[in-house]
């Protein structure tokens, strides 16, 4: 399966230059296109099913017909329609958008750094956003949502610059190991300052609930700000994907093709920071989506980031919608935190990848 994906990719690259290769490659390519189309259609169908399931299942189970009617022919006087429209729909849409954003952020990090352990949570980006949110909870408790979003983005930016700056300035450069460790330590530092602030200002449990993450509280008013920005940035990352594919093949390949490595890396990182910072400000620190999903996407579709990025977006949305549904359904009427739900999948995956990591510090 994997081999086929690679072959497609190779064919796509050589097509223009060598006629013989192109001749051989064309049937392969066509099969690949069909396969890719099927994968995308499959993922989209999966997302639609997951969203419908998440809207219809819950404390009050609603039939598909009602869901359909509530979404497309909203009737304010019906209770079922109100539940769907006011509670479940923003929640499910929020989960989908944030899942997509986190997965795309993860795939960009992994591509830029060629680091299989790259993830917004592991690299301390979430902790930076969280720290700034804690500070504003403590000192400016009445900030409007829009300002909070901007601030958490700045927090994410701060910790990202720290982690990557330290990793890159070291002799030997940005090894996966160094990036992961400096991310973990930065996260520990910011996390510990966050809990210091929380304890000093008696905010502990408020912040813990926020940190545990969740899309339960997302309202239409927040979604209206968040969703357009995230969707635009995701679309922008798809434009970036071609250069990221080249970077992921190694610096030399990228340089030979005349790519401005520094510029692409910087743009990519900024994109990651926007995606992760906004997601964290809306739903708390949800780790491991960005770790797991890009790996699955790569297994399914090959090494070209032009396909990995959009497929990650779809699959990330599916994962978070299902995780949120699972968090609601696991032990009703209580809700599990969604971040915990995702960790149960993500941590074993991280450990599995860590076991394969051979390079030394």
């Amino acid at each position: 399966m994997q081999f086929k994906g690679r072959a497609d990719n190779h064919a796509a690259r050589t097509e223009g230059t060598a006629p013989e290769a192109a001749f051989v490659a064309r049937p392969l390519l066509r099969a690949g296109r069909i396969r890719q189309a099927l994968l995308f259609i499959g993922a989209a169908v999966l997302l639609a099913l997951a969203m419908f399931a998440a809207i219809s299942l819950g404390a009050k189970d609603l039939t598909l017909g009602t869901v359909w009617a509530a979404v497309f022919h909203y009737d304010r006087s019906l209770m079922a329609h109100q539940i769907i429209h006011e509670l479940r729909l923003p929640r499910v849409l929020g989960a989908a958008v944030i899942g997509a954003a986190l997965a795309v952020a993860g795939s960009l990090i992994q591509g830029i750094t060629r680091n299989p352990l790259g993830d917004t949570g592991v690299l301390g980006i979430n902790a930076g956003a969280m720290f700034v949110v804690a500070v504003s909870f403590a000192f400016f408790p009445n900030l409007p949502y829009g300002t909070l979003i901007v601030l958490s983005f700045l927090g994410a930016l701060m910790s990202t610059l720290l982690v990557f700056g330290l990793g890159a300035s070291a002799p030997g450069g940005l090894t996966p190991m160094r990036l992961t460790v400096s991310g973990a330590v930065t996260a520990a530092l910011l996390g510990s300052m966050t809990s210091g602030i929380a304890i000093y200002f008696d905010l502990s449990q408020d912040l813990a609930f926020w940190y545990a993450g969740g899309v339960a509280g997302i309202k239409w008013s927040q979604l209206e700000i968040l969703a357009p920005i995230l969707l635009i940035v995701i679309a922008w990352s798809m434009g970036l994907a071609r250069s990221i594919s080249l970077i992921s093949m190694g610096d030399e390949v990228a340089l030979n093709l005349g790519l401005n490595l520094k510029r692409i890396r910087l743009l990519g990182l900024l994109t990651v920071v926007v995606l992760a910072g906004l997601s964290v400000s809306a739903a708390g620190a949800i780790g491991f989506v960005g770790l797991v999903i890009p790996h699955i996407a790569r297994k399914l579709i090959g090494v070209d980031y032009r396909q990995i990025v959009p497929l990650s977006a779809l699959l990330g949305a599916v994962l978070l919608v299902l995780a949120d549904l699972g968090a609601r359904m696991a032990n009703p009427p209580e809700e599990l935190a969604i971040g915990i739900m995702v960790s149960f999948i993500g941590v074993p995956f991280f450990l599995f990848l860590a076991r394969k990591e051979r390079r030394d510090l």
Binding site: S192, I199, A337
Partner: protein, 341 residues
């Protein structure tokens, strides 16, 4: 530099000197720690009270409230400093630290399990909480060792750290799950503990911690030769006649015991196990017979200072010592990371 290349005797003299100086600093820091708080007692009165004088009120404040806490802090500081030094030697990795390796996450899970299922912070808590946190730390250690073990190479250092990060994330997720269901008061206690607040403040806590330190610390100090050999590399160590696998397991067990016991009384304080051995190495060089005692003293100085600052500077709500240590320790760690190859 040229002096440090001198004879063993010169080094030993230097190590003694450093130890004496650090003991002096520790003494000053401890007296300052005893003197600060809501009721301030001048340093000289502290000394006077310690040796039998002083008023009845000074006596109560000192012996009932401050002294037990300081004793816990001293023991935990020494334990964490030594544990870090041993772990760095064993893994031949300058970045090894009980916190980074996920032992604290295990201890935290133990604590949250205890307060979730027994919900009792009085009386038996003094004995049972350490038991649970200790067990949690040991479970985490076993998990990490299993995950980083390779049939041919033994414990692989890179995997030790990466598995530590992974295991810590996983255990923290479970801890978070349970801690969100706690009532407000218990949660406040747990949050403080997790942030590394010295919570053992009665004589019984000091008494519970004491045996671990006085039994395990001398054992570790008696094994400095093995530690020196192990830090040369497995093959060299085996060549000199060290039974590598057995010694490593025993010493790892000792380090886990020291750090888990300390953490169980002093809370999830990270980074001491990392900084203390580093500073010690700068002061007296890499030989463990010098490094280990110095690391203990440095640990004491750091923890007592951090606890005193956390208690006195940030009134009325104290900041946990662990936060103070992390704010200094994490940047130092990152600095070291950016320097290593």
């Amino acid at each position: 530099m040229s002096r440090s290349l001198g004879t063993g005797d010169a080094r030993r003299t230097k190590a003694w000197l450093v130890c004496m100086v650090l003991a002096g600093i520790s003494f000053v820091v401890i007296v300052l720690g005893l003197n600060t708080g809501t009721i301030r007692i001048p340093p000289l009165r502290v000394l006077d009270t310690l040796f039998g004088g002083g008023s009845g009120r000074d006596h109560t404040v000192l012996f009932e409230y401050r002294l037990p806490r300081i004793v816990v802090t001293i023991l935990a500081g020494a334990g964490l400093g030594a544990a870090g030094a041993v772990m760095q030697g064993l893994s031949r990795n300058a970045l090894a630290d009980p916190g980074v390796l996920g032992l604290h996450a295990g201890a935290a899970l133990g604590l949250v399990m205890f307060v979730s299922f027994f919900r009792d912070l009085e009386g038996s808590a003094a004995v049972l909480i350490p038991l649970f946190t200790f067990a949690g730390g040991v479970v985490a250690a076993v998990l990490i060792v299993l995950l980083s073990y390779n049939r041919n190479r033994g414990i692989v250092p890179v995997r030790l750290i990466l598995s530590g990060i992974g295991v810590a994330s996983g255990l923290s997720a479970i801890t978070l799950y349970w801690s969100l269901r706690l009532d407000e008061d218990t949660y406040a206690f747990t949050a403080r503990w997790l942030a590394g607040s010295v919570w053992g403040r009665d004589w019984i806590h000091a008494a519970a911690l004491l045996p671990w330190i006085v039994i395990v610390l001398p054992y570790v100090l008696s094994q400095t030769r093995s530690l020196n050999n192990l830090s040369l590399g497995d093959e060299t160590a085996a060549g000199i006649g060290t039974s590598v696998k057995r010694q490593r397991l025993l010493l790892l067990g000792a380090a886990v015991a020291l750090s888990s016991a300390s953490v169980s009384m002093a809370g999830g304080i990270g980074f001491i196990g990392l900084i203390a051995p580093h500073l010690a190495r700068r002061l007296v060089g890499p030989m463990y017979q010098h490094l280990l005692p110095v690391a203990c003293f440095v640990g004491i100085v750091i923890l007592v200072t951090a606890d005193t600052i956390g208690r006195s500077v940030f009134q009325p709500n104290a900041i946990p010592a662990g936060v103070v240590v992390a704010v200094v320790g994490a940047p130092y760690f990152l600095f070291l990371l950016s320097r290593t190859k």
